[in-house]
Symmetry: C2
Subunit: 226 residues, 2 copies
């Protein structure tokens, strides 16, 4: 088992059968010791954060599997905080795809001239480039195509999958009276036919969830939901 | 004749016949006394800048008229530095629509992870919100629709017009061996059928033009081209 990548919150190992093992870490992103899922730096270490993220991820990826929505997921070992996944290549050097149901966060910071805080949005999809140095800039369909990151046809698939998956997560959370405001995903291409599949994780750190108008901290979400 | 708006580089007067008069000023945008067409503040005053901008605008708007591309232009008086235009409502509180033929400026600042300086782009269109406080953020087709600024169908018209007009300007400049790198436009809705038309101006301050690889200052462009 060979370490191929060490990320902010996960290590990635290559397995002998061609699949990969994701080791969820207890490091979480944040600034000045405060947990912030949107931050680009590791802010602090919280014991159990890795397992909590994996438990939610396992739950959602298995729901998606039942619904026939493609992901890279094979299986997960909660005790070891590891997930086995199919190999996938990311788009360019990595994209984040965001699905928004209410106007908060960077959407509000950018479009505050028109949007009011918490305003409903109809599963609005936007793509940002993973680029810490340039603060993850948003990018549109034409630019993704022109820069060779994603074709226009792939963008259509990506947007549809994003809305489908966002809606699944939203409905699942609603069963516990939790409201999803926004969620970010990563996708990749897998197999010979370069099928677009969901990769990475679905956990508290990827979304903003609220209950009775109160924001739910990522680690609280896992306890409240599962 | 009533002053209805005083902008950074133009004053707008309402005429009795329902049309409007644009008074081109000698104030140009910039920072710390240096002319920068992309800046959001008035940087300095250059004698003759208003007339130079109007001469180019008159030239391009008349070429567009010949080609049947809709604009708000009626006529211009170079001596007085004024242009008479049809009434038009802007989208929301104003949008800028950019057409790019080479990767420079804010495109390169945002997408420098993938783009190299000066890389050719295929008449790439992007829309930004006019919002000085939020540094004119880019916005995509879905967000424009969801925020009630522009419908999805209007976006398609806007993008086509932008590429058509960009290509006209590019071809005109090419006649003098000048290469257009990028250009920004403003559009509005006019008449009862809310037709989308080009408004504002087309001058050195709206574009980046190069000759033999050297950037041409906006006021030099007018002299070189006309």
């Amino acid at each position: 088992m060979k370490l191929t990548y060490s990320g902010k919150t996960k290590d990635v190992y290559a397995l002998e059968d061609g699949n990969y093992l994701l080791q969820f870490k207890d490091d979480v992103t944040g600034v000045d010791g405060v947990f912030d899922p949107g931050a680009n730096t590791v802010g602090l270490t919280i014991e159990g954060a890795g397992r909590a993220g994996l438990r939610l991820t396992k739950y959602f990826f298995e729901v998606l599997k039942e619904k026939g929505i493609p992901t890279h997921y094979i299986d997960a070992d909660i005790e070891q905080a590891t997930m086995t996944v199919k190999p996938a290549e990311v788009f360019g050097k990595g994209l984040e795809v965001i699905c928004r149901y209410r106007a908060v966060g960077s959407f509000l910071r950018r479009y505050g001239l028109y949007a009011i805080e918490g305003q409903p949005l109809d599963a609005f999809v936007e793509v940002t480039i993973k680029d810490d140095d340039r603060e993850d800039p948003p990018i549109n369909q034409d630019a993704l195509d022109m820069l060779g990151i994603l074709t226009k046809d792939e963008y259509i698939v990506l947007k549809e999958l994003t809305q489908q998956i966002g809606n699944v997560v939203k409905e699942e959370l609603a069963k516990k009276d939790i409201e999803l405001y926004d969620i970010k995903f990563e996708f990749g291409r897998t197999g010979e036919d370069k099928q677009i599949v969901l990769i990475d994780e679905i956990s508290g750190g990827n979304m903003r969830a609220y209950k009775d108008g109160e924001y739910i901290e990522p680690l609280v979400l896992e306890k409240m939901f599962l």
